[in-house]
């Protein structure tokens, strides 16, 4: 692709359909990478051990640990995807 696929252009259809699509473009790749990161991370680190080393006073089971870990990863990857999405939009505002 010669130009960023998600860059806004004149003639774009505004509205909810467009917004949902952009949301998908940000959320889906970050979901996939967060899933891989979670698998690698928790294959090497036991959430129980992590809890004992960080918040020993909190009661966090392994299931909760995996879920929290996954959403933390997803949060980070989605933030990165979102910034990339913002930066790929033209800066001169011709799409506004």
């Amino acid at each position: 692709m010669s130009r960023p696929a998600n860059a806004a252009r004149p003639g774009d259809a505004p509205g909810p359909a467009r917004r949902i699509r952009d949301l998908g473009v940000v959320l889906w790749p970050s979901f996939v990478t967060a899933g891989v990161a979670t698998a690698i991370f928790f294959a090497n680190i036991d959430p129980e051990a992590l809890r004992a080393a960080t918040f020993p006073s909190l009661e966090i089971g392994r299931k909760a640990g995996y879920t929290i870990g996954f959403f933390m990863f997803w949060g980070v990857t989605a933030a990165s995807s979102y910034l990339t999405y913002i930066l790929l939009r033209p800066a001169n505002g011709d799409s506004k």
Binding site: D12, R18, V25, W28, A39, N44, K63, T67
Partner: protein, 472 residues
């Protein structure tokens, strides 16, 4: 790339320039139902893949679920094998294998994955069936959507939503059933006492299924799928694609059944537009290869049906290669395919070998942290270790530990013969002793050999450090 690349033209009717097609106002696609050889293949793929997905968690093996990713216990059960976090290597190999297979099959046969095996395609297909059962065929669905909200529309739409939501919920339930024993999960569901995380993930996966297969559909492939974008890098002019034969088809135009096209100065395409109507992504294959094409071959099936009716030969739209279309010889074996193929074979062979040679026992040796060594009388020195013995097999085993590497080395474990249950990690204290005179320079490497004594003939050797006072 220096080789001529298959040009992927992007064209959508109604878009002024190809680039605008990205975000041209989205029109709902109403794929028309189709019958034919490739549709039968896809139906078969749907039943096979979804059948596996929904049935596998219910299969038993040795009084437990055959496939269970027991995350709380950090063990994966796959039929007779138990995998531990230490076995992550196998998962990594498996992922590499999957990626290489995708490269290999893409180079060889294009987007087979998209058309037949991708979960997005498979679940969308089932959601479309449900839509057809409740709302009728393509024209009925379009009429229903355009029409007013009368009793029939409300009933039909409600029925569809009930089917969709029910199926999506069952999909989410099955998904969680791979991580929590599904029969326990089922009982919890019936008694309405599901754990909060189980419920959360059932709902999460259910919503994802509903959203992707019911609502987003082809838009996932067009706007969200990374593979759709980079698959063109694996394509070349010898890759199997779905293509319309413009030389044979053009000029297109309507005519009566059975008319010889030459007599009316037309090509074989009767411009019935059925190939556009069946397309799940709403493109016109006659405009050439487009990145939206998921190679589902619905247009081939429908066009072949039309050709049969017109008594023209089949294959106006067909599986072919860019070279074949351009009347150049197609080469199946080419460097790209050979390299992918060799890599794929090598890693697959490595994976199988590693799995076959996998030691069903493992042992970690931890030196006692409190005392480096202990002097026993004037003559002997003793080191204490904690042995963590892990039985990765599906049967209990009995082991004994031996020590070697120093003269007169003796080991005592408590108990002397160690029974470890399948999947258990047992901590065993071991005292290793030798004469002070035999250890020089403050320590030596010794070997601890774990040996099964129940006839299963397994050994596992760990090297560790034996410490002694330096000033002797």
């Amino acid at each position: 790339m220096s080789k001529p690349k298959t040009k992927i033209r992007m064209h959508r009717p109604g878009a002024s320039t190809p680039a605008d097609a990205m975000y041209a106002a989205h029109e709902k696609v109403y794929p028309r139902e189709v019958k034919g050889r490739y549709q039968s293949l896809r139906t078969l793929a749907v039943f096979t893949l979804l059948g596996l997905y929904y049935l596998l968690p219910w299969i038993h093996w040795d009084q437990r679920q055959a496939i269970l990713f027991d995350l709380p216990a950090r063990k994966f059960y796959i039929f007779g094998l138990i995998f531990w976090p230490q076995d992550f290597f196998y998962l990594a190999l498996l992922l590499i294998l999957a990626a290489l297979s995708l490269f290999f099959f893409t180079a060889l046969a294009g987007r087979l994955w998209c058309g037949y095996a991708c979960p997005q395609t498979v679940w969308t297909e089932v959601f479309l069936w449900m839509e057809k059962w409740t709302e009728g065929d393509r024209s009925k669905r379009m009429k229903l959507d355009a029409g007013p909200w009368n009793r029939e529309k409300i009933l039909r739409k409600t029925a569809k939503q009930l089917l969709w939501v029910g199926f999506a919920a069952f999909t989410g339930f099955t998904f969680v059933g791979y991580f929590t024993p599904i029969e326990v999960l089922g009982r919890e569901l019936v008694h309405l006492n599901l754990g909060s995380w189980e419920l959360f993930w059932i709902v999460f996966y259910g919503i994802a299924t509903y959203g992707n297969a019911g609502f987003l559909r082809e838009q996932v492939c067009m706007y969200m799928c990374p593979y759709a974008r980079f698959q063109s890098a694996m394509f070349d002019r010898n890759t199997l694609i779905i293509s319309y034969d413009p030389e044979r088809g053009e000029p297109r135009g309507g005519r009566k059944r059975g008319v010889d096209p030459k007599t009316v100065n037309l090509g074989d395409c009767i411009d019935c537009n059925l190939c556009v109507q069946v397309c799940p992504t709403g493109i016109d294959i006659r405009n050439g290869l487009q990145y939206e094409c998921i190679a589902c071959a619905a247009c081939i099936d429908v066009c072949n049906g039309v050709m049969d009716k017109m008594a023209y030969p089949r294959g106006l739209i067909r599986y072919t290669t860019q070279n074949a279309v351009d009347k150049i010889v197609t080469r199946v074996l080419r460097p790209r395919v050979i390299v992918y193929g060799i890599l794929l074979f090598a890693i697959a062979a490595g994976f199988v070998t590693a799995l076959a040679l996998r030691e069903p026992v493992a042992m970690d040796v931890l030196h006692d942290r409190n005392a480096l060594y202990r002097l026993v009388g004037d003559e002997s020195v003793e080191n204490v270790y904690l042995l963590k013995i892990m039985n990765k097999d599906i049967k209990p085993h009995t082991y004994r530990v031996e020590a070697s590497g120093l003269k007169d080395i003796r080991i005592e474990t408590d108990p002397e013969t160690i029974v470890v249950q399948p999947g258990e990690v047992l901590g065993v204290a071991a005292r290793v002793r030798t004469e002070l005179d035999h250890v020089h320079g403050g320590g030596a490497n010794i070997k601890l050999v774990l040996r099964s004594v129940d006839g299963s003939n397994m050994t596992h050797t760990e090297t560790t450090r034996f410490l002694a006072p330096r000033n002797r």
